[in-house]
Subunit: 201 residues, 4 copies
């Protein structure tokens, strides 16, 4: 039954899925109808063949009309001078759903690990710097998750862009730290209480 | 982005997967490499096109040599006079992994719901009866889950086969009720304690 | 604030309670009203001072009228020739709530650990043997949880009592193994499937 | 066995404890040793009889030397002109453990519910106002949990104190909203993203 085992192996790689649930998925497929299976197979194939990567923000999109840029990066109704540095496609989607950002995005795809050697090329900050130097971008905001990798990456990016603050009148900032929705004072960590106190207003 | 939404819809149908995790799967696919995606797509397609249904036990298999019967049903080293009635393919796999049954199987695909109208045709008990009447099968054991549907189905099948007990010297039984591995006396339900006491040995 | 810390330490010993929840209990006490606190303190004190241990089954009870025996052991409407060997007070309560046993009980207080040296005295099987030898008890059923300690203890007790089977016409048995309420065939372990098949009926 | 039932009833009132776990606690008590039980009973009794309420901050403490004020409120090494408005004793403890606040506290004991009629007396804001009017307090920071009641209470307190801002040069603020430790951009809610963007720095 090696095809079943092969499929289970692939499904085990899905986020949060162990061998047992991967097996349940296979069984689900075994009893799924013809139509479901052929649609699933071809959609997965399409995702592979049709996906495009934006030449500025590196976001995955499926727009075939816009050129090298994704629809968001080429949308002139947005404030193209502001860039929000985020980690990944799902962060983009959450910000868009929230409707709180009207500038462009810049994806780094994966936060820098504390032991990563030379992340500069991987983050492709050069493209961001070029955009600043050309006068296209005048404000950069980092919006990374609050965990060791995210905080280290924030620091790394701020340090890399600091020389451009004076020379190109760049504004750099990071999302504020404080109490998030649902925070309970009784259980909040020291770092959060400290930031929430310092930024009180 | 309708292909992404379509794929999320299909993935939401997987057992135990809600909209949020389905979306995470889509994002995983977006950043998966070419090779992973094409293998996944073609394996899912193969599963659809290559699967066979055994003409006796109704189990899904992928054996292309054996004829109408699956390898288990045509295995003459097994005791072909005994049939274990189970619900589904994953139950088959669990019994085979346990190595505790050396007869044939008979899948009903889904337990009978308490409100199901005329389950007889759906369960295809006629094929089982034919096998009993022809002298091929002399013992039937029901092995269904212990929940309302499973218990109702057990009762339904036993009742359907009862006329054959005398006429064809058929032996019918059900898996025993009692303490299963991990049962704690403190938390066991009355039904389990009652059965475990009655069957004490 | 050492009384608060001391109380937290004691509350941490409650089953399933960690330091954090123990602290929450202390805070609950701090804002509880006078009446709650004095009732709690005195009930806990009463539990300590009023509890009695049955001289046969070793169960805790609070009956002040019956003599050395608990109300259950002295209840002549029950079948006093049958004894159910259980581990602890909460097992007793679960059996009584189920209403499936009408004999006496015998508590061993804690199952035998696999590395326990000489459990014989601790289990006080001598009292049980005396009761068998005197003709008072003619059937013993062990009802212990299905885990390594419980299974080892079951074996130990059966072995200890075996000599009395012939000499005193003793009947010994254990609760049956099989599918308990809620068991799903797909997820059942081999041992449970094996027992459920062997005991099929 | 009514004392057991009574005790279970009292233990069910503990935060996060249902009837089943309350029963387990009772069983734990039944088999606990004499010493544990008498210490527990007397500590609970002491908590009741020895507790003091600070006449300024309303915090529970056990200090018998300081007069009407708790040790924190009477500690002259702290900045006594600043007051942190918190909900409860455990919030106090969390701030003290964090070491991020060096002023006084003011407990309101319970956030105002959205349907609460006239919370003014219950919150005892008059005592806080008196302290501001007398020149003792010049800064008030509200530090309440971020949920509907907490946010409503924050608004209520700020509105109540606003008249004193000009007349007594009072500074009022609330803990900042933003990303707390562990926040993931992918899952952050709109409100948190909005606040974190607005307060970016």
């Amino acid at each position: 039954m090696s095809k079943i085992d092969d499929l289970q192996e692939l499904l085990k790689k899905l986020p949060g899925i162990g061998p047992r649930q991967a097996r349940r998925f296979v069984y689900f497929f075994l009893s799924a109808d013809e139509n479901y299976m052929s649609r699933l197979s071809s959609l997965i194939n399409d995702l592979r063949s049709d996906k495009k990567i934006c030449s500025f923000c590196r976001r995955v999109h499926f727009d075939s009309i816009s050129g090298e840029l994704c629809p968001t990066c080429s949308d002139t109704s947005r404030d193209q001078s502001k860039v929000l540095v985020i980690e990944k496609n799902s962060d983009f989607e959450n910000f868009e759903r929230s409707g709180v950002w009207d500038g462009r995005y810049f994806l780094i795809l994966k936060n820098v690990g504390l032991t990563e050697d030379d992340p500069s090329a991987r983050l492709q900050l050069d493209r961001l710097k070029t955009s600043i130097e050309s006068g296209q971008t005048s404000e950069v905001v980092t919006a990374l998750s609050v965990n060791p990798d995210g905080e280290y990456t924030t620091e790394y990016i701020h340090k890399s862009l600091t020389p451009l603050v004076k020379s190109h009148n760049l504004s750099i900032s990071a999302l504020a730290r404080g109490l998030s929705t649902g925070s309970e004072i009784e259980y909040a960590d020291s770092e959060t209480l400290k930031n929430a106190l310092e930024n009180r207003k």
